[in-house]
């Protein structure tokens, strides 16, 4: 038995293991078309192991990691059964049982040792050295592990925009990871240690406001850490950059340059920013202010937006599946006659860029901060 009697997970297993009702929307299923990649398939496989009818196999463990934890299944379920919670708890159990695939173990070690592995000097971001690690300053900008690692150009653009507002801001020279990446892999204990480390660093700086362009960092600090048994940042305001900049526009601190030449923009809602944190309107308003028009919308957008495939670090654990999931979004954008896809998450941007090249689509992929700083 994996889960305790009368546990929430047992209830979810019972409800989901034969239910087909969300399969059509599961973005991993949309790519693979395999039942074992669906919420129902996961629940059925876990249920049989939980009831001692079958045993864990490498294949079944791998299937549990082939989920981007985008929560679309829960969103579309009439009774909001938390299949994402089930996947999270099952991954924690996989860690406990020490049956984690080698590739995931390697990734965990890499993430834990991220600061040691980080060979890039922050100067690569073309930011003045005196910008780093300043104390008692109003605004702390957190780039997030994947932005630092994969999308340093976003950091430079963010710095340009923050400088243009004239606020006092700082960022860490060695930021480290927020912990959510480890959490999503089932390493909850290690995730909490990483989050605590980051929070302690933040408390040394004592900013009034934290802003980040990375929805994963945003969710960690604003939603996850308050649920964990660690100190969290109750006195500090935490914003995603789109929220912060929209506030600055409203209080007239920021005026965006109009660029009407930028047309046929479609906005992709990142799962963690949209469905998980409820930020839908601000990015659309910013796009409207710059281009003069609201962005084009996908057939499924806002709370029903499909995952790009990068969620739950699948772009590192299962890059082949991720690439094809991202390609589906690229094709969907082209079907809506978009010329540019804008998102507000470095992970989405990364996989869309790869998919756009792979599909020879000529679809331009940019982060919203790049649109703002144009």
């Amino acid at each position: 038995m994996i889960f305790k009697k009368n546990s929430k997970e047992k209830e979810i297993l019972k409800m989901c293991r034969y239910c087909f009702m969300c399969r059509h929307a599961c973005p991993v299923f949309l790519e693979t078309k395999m039942d074992s990649n669906t919420p129902r398939g996961h629940a059925l496989l876990i249920s049989r192991i939980d009831e001692n009818i079958s045993e864990w196999t490498e294949d079944t463990v791998d299937k549990i990691y082939q989920c981007s934890q985008c929560s679309l299944c829960k969103e579309l379920c009439e009774f909001s059964w938390e299949e994402d919670t089930l996947i999270q708890s099952t991954r924690e159990m996989i860690v406990k049982l020490k049956i984690v695939p080698d590739e995931i173990k390697k990734l965990k070690s890499f993430l834990i040792n991220y600061n040691i592995n980080q060979n890039k000097s922050p100067n690569v971001f073309d930011i003045n050295n005196d910008r780093f690690d300043r104390k008692h300053i109003d605004v702390l900008y957190l780039a997030g592990y994947s932005t630092l690692f994969e999308q340093p150009e976003i950091i430079k653009k963010t710095a340009d925009v923050l400088n243009s507002i004239g606020i006092k801001w700082t960022m860490f020279k060695e930021e480290g990871i927020a912990g959510i990446e480890l959490f999503e892999l089932g390493y909850t204990k290690e995730a909490k240690i990483a989050a605590k480390k980051l929070i302690n660093k933040i408390l040394e700086i004592k900013p009034k406001i934290i802003i980040t362009g990375n929805p994963h960092v945003y969710k960690t600090l604003k939603s996850l850490t308050p649920q964990w048994d660690i100190d969290y940042l109750s006195d500090i305001k935490i914003y995603h950059i789109v929220e912060y900049l929209y506030l600055k526009i409203k209080d007239r601190t920021l005026k965006l340059k109009k660029n009407p030449n930028f047309s046929k923009i479609i906005y992709h809602d990142p799962c963690q920013l949209g469905r998980n944190m409820g930020v839908y309107d601000e990015p659309r308003e910013l796009i409207k202010l710059i281009t003069g028009n609201p962005p084009l919308e996908f057939l499924h957008s806002r709370n029903e937006a499909e995952c790009c495939g990068a969620g739950s670090v699948m772009y590192l654990t299962h890059p082949d599946i991720t690439r094809k999931m991202a390609q589906i979004i690229i094709y969907n954008a082209l079907e809506m006659n978009a010329k540019t896809i804008v998102t507000a998450c470095p992970n989405c941007k990364k996989v869309f860029e790869d998919a756009s090249i792979k599909t020879n689509s000529n679809l331009k992929v940019i982060d919203i901060i790049e649109l703002i700083s144009l």
Partner: protein, 484 residues
């Protein structure tokens, strides 16, 4: 974990990879586990018992019909069973690999090939999910008007293969009415394409042979369907009628009057009590009747008025349109657990039956008695609604439910088979015709002989034998386990 392949099966796998490519040949036990089950209670029950059952050697995901042709030719030479599968949401084991073999999952053949707005048709591959097809049509202002309960999960190919029926079938028909043209890979690897229109007089309409055949006569690779502009208006009425008899009578009068409801759902006392009271907080006893019209505003308005003239007796409570609109908007809600008791271990089955008006009430009473009186000691419950209406008859959509199932596996399975047998015989013996548009498969296959008679069933066997010499196409389904 890879399945351990013997030397002989290794060569099969190699051939499959040659035909489909490595990424389209799945031997992962996790996927096989998930495809061993459909909605049939027996497969669900077995999945959570320590009772294993036959599984496919491999699952293949074709991307085109040429791959299917190659597979069929290879399987014919080597006498390997082929089991076509769409959404896997049938309720009779039709897509379960009971004789092992190769499952052909069509879900990667999911393209819309052409929409023709002038002739109101759409040509599609079989593996597209109905919800995706409908979303595609809606974008251009059209609909297929095929909205079954498994709308989210079943493929159009699966619906054709079971002659599926949606909730708007009273006006728009079953798949046999919706399909214009089929392309089928026959068991010998040849490709058959039926005539391009649904209505013709060019000898027998061979496309009908493959509608409802559940993959026993070939694999469908292309479908041309009717489509409709999204209706300008929908309107609903609902009533609480005193009893079943009056409800059936009013349904008949509405249909014979020439009105064309797109939807008419009539619930027996038990269904009314359970569904409407629980879901819609409705008080009162009786039988709930809901009627809907769609189309041009003027036509909808006239039809709505005329219904009120037909149903105007004092003992009938008119409930207005709110309950009906609620049902329409939330029509899939009852298929989500916990409202759908698919999540429970309870023994359940649907035994959809259709019959002319002269015998429909008697069939209902006999089926109900067969379940509730015949299996009283097990607390068997019978409930039904009537949801597909014509001017000559209607269908009963009955379900049985046993919550307290025997602990021993063999006894539980025997009880399931006994209730099914009693209920189906009660229908057939009183003039009913099996109408299981969720699939005949294994569960009801043996009743085809009784339904068609010896001569009729022999004809079916001869057709099967002529087309599928080596009995490779979905063997053991539709009662065709006797074909040698």
């Amino acid at each position: 974990m890879q399945k351990t392949w013997s030397n002989s099966t290794k060569s099969i796998r190699n051939k499959l990879v040659e035909i489909f490519g490595d990424e389209n040949v799945i031997t992962d036990q996790s996927e096989i586990e998930c495809q061993k089950v459909d909605v049939w209670w027996i497969t669900r029950y077995k999945m959570l018992q320590e009772k294993d059952f036959q599984q496919p050697l491999a699952i293949v995901f074709p991307e085109n019909k040429e791959q299917i042709v190659s597979l069929v030719k290879f399987c014919n030479i080597n006498k390997i069973p082929i089991i076509p599968r769409g959404g896997g949401a049938g309720d009779s084991g039709g897509s379960v690999a009971i004789k092992s073999g190769i499952t052909v999952d069509t879900k990667r053949m999911d393209k819309v090939l052409k929409i023709n707005k002038k002739s109101l048709t759409i040509r599609v591959q079989p593996g597209i999910l109905q919800i995706h097809l409908e979303e595609y049509l809606n974008r251009f202002g059209y609909t297929m008007n095929h909205l079954p309960a498994s709308f989210n999960t079943s493929t159009i190919g699966g619906f054709v293969s079971t002659n599926g029926t949606g909730i708007l079938s009273s006006k728009y028909g079953k798949l046999t009415d919706i399909v214009h043209q089929l392309e089928v890979v026959l068991p010998d690897g040849k490709i058959f394409k039926s005539l391009a229109v649904n209505h013709h007089s060019t000898g027998p309409d061979f496309s009908k042979l493959f509608i409802g055949a559940e993959g026993t006569l070939g694999i469908i690779t292309e479908i041309l369907c009717k489509i409709y502009p999204i209706p300008e208006k929908m309107a609903f009425l609902s009533f609480l009628l005193p009893n079943l008899k009056e409800g059936i009578d009013y349904g008949r009068k509405i249909m014979e009057s020439g009105l064309e409801p797109c939807i008419m759902r009539f619930y027996d006392e038990k269904d009314t009590e359970h569904i409407l009271k629980n879901q819609y907080k409705m008080k009162g006893k009786g039988c709930f009747l809901m009627i809907g019209f769609d189309g041009l505003k003027e036509i909808v308005d006239v039809q709505t008025k005329l219904v009120s003239k037909i149903i105007s007796k004092n003992n009938i409570k008119e409930l207005g349109d709110k309950q009906a609109w609620d049902w329409w908007k939330n029509r899939l809600r009852s298929y989500y657990p916990p409202l759908d008791y698919i999540c429970e271990p309870w023994m359940t089955a649907v035994m959809d039956t259709i019959a002319p008006y002269e015998c429909i009430e008697n069939i209902y009473l006999n089926m109900k008695s067969a379940v509730e009186d015949g299996f009283k000691e097990f607390g068997a419950i019978f409930h039904a609604h009537f949801s597909h209406w014509y001017n000559w008859g209607t269908s009963i959509y009955p379900s049985f439910l046993v919550k307290d199932i025997p602990k021993e596996y063999d006894k539980a399975v025997k009880l399931y088979d006994d209730i099914t047998d009693a209920c189906i015989n009660a229908a057939i013996n009183n003039g009913g015709v099996i109408n299981e548009h969720h699939g005949i498969g294994i569960r009801l296959g043996n009743y085809l002989k009784k339904s068609y008679g010896n001569e009729g069933f022999e004809l079916f066997k001869k057709i099967k034998k002529a087309l599928d010499v080596n009995n490779i196409m979905n063997p053991g389904k539709l009662g065709l386990n006797e074909v040698e």
